[in-house]
């Protein structure tokens, strides 16, 4: 069993490349996570991520490196206190 997490990632940096959104969506799919992008600018992106907590951690690690066209300065993580955040799921 692994804790289930729902978090908002506020990603900041040089994010203007058009490859970043599909990259984030693809990386989340590879990890089996749900990802929905709610806000985007060339320097900031907000993504809601849901799934097993350890894989949400792995999503952060992957995004910190990101594609070569993008430079991620920081990822601020915020737990979302809704129903999803209190669930548990099989790892």
């Amino acid at each position: 069993m692994s804790d289930f997490a729902a978090e908002r990632f506020a990603i900041s940096g040089d994010l203007g490349s058009p490859v970043f959104v599909p990259w984030v969506e693809r990386h989340a799919r590879r990890l089996g996570l749900a990802a929905s992008i709610s806000e985007r600018s060339p320097t900031r992106m907000q993504v809601r991520i849901e799934g097993p907590a350890e894989l949400v951690d792995a999503m952060e690690v992957g995004c910190l490196l990101g594609p070569i066209e993008v430079w991620v300065d920081d990822i601020a993580r915020e737990p979302l206190n809704d129903r999803a955040a209190n669930r548990t799921a099989d790892a």
């Binding site: 951690d57 792995a58 690690v61 992957g62 490196l65």
Partner: protein, 276 residues
Amino acid sequence: MRHQWYPVGIAAKLPDSPAESLLLGERVHIGRAKGGGPQVTDAKGRALPVLTRFGHVWTTLGTPERDLFTIPEADQPGRRLVDVGTVRVRCSPLRAVENFLDIAHFPFVHTDILGAEPHTEVERYEVEIREDSDEVWATKVRFFQPQAAKSAGGGITTDYMYRVPAPTCSILYKTSPPRPGEWDVITLFVQPMTEELCQVWPWMALFDDASTMTDMIHFQQMIFVQDRSILENQIPAKLPLDPGLEIPTRADMTSIAYRRWLKRHGYTYGAQLVAA
């Protein structure tokens, strides 16, 4: 890439007649000048800048903006300075450094020496790119090791720090078994011969009054030889600067910080820029 210092030989073992080698894909010759000091020349016979530090000869194909990094422990009394020798590895020079930074492989590659099952978990540690020194540092790394060093009498939980002061150099600080309050220093200096071939020059500054020099060298060479078969079979051969199909986790944070740092510096020799 050209404006970095790179190791090309052991200062005490320079050949009398120049030996040919490769640096960043270019031919260089390493030997002794008429006065006996180190001399490195490029393919056109032009003398390249040289430094002798940490038992090794360093050179550059360009004009470095910075002096070579320092290792203050190298001057600390009581340490034994060990030129471990050299290992040629058919892998990206960046892969060699990344492997050196990886703790998670210890129980599986260096079984019953640097790690052992079931002690496979890598506890959380801290990683940062230090802005003042422009270096990657991983601190508060702890790992159980059956035989942490030649001087270790048995299994101990070893504290580690990793430091990347240059793109192809890494320094490991680990608990000194005979002096638990001090750090042993083990370095990996990598000469990038081509993007997929490198010469690795390990060097150590240890507190160990009991082991013979030969024993210390053999211990460290055994570790590097165990790593070589892994390194030569990495796919992709170059170090990806995009995670691509890899799924890095928290335990890989040092590697991720290293790759971020390379990306920030535009250091791409031996790197793969597109997703694997």
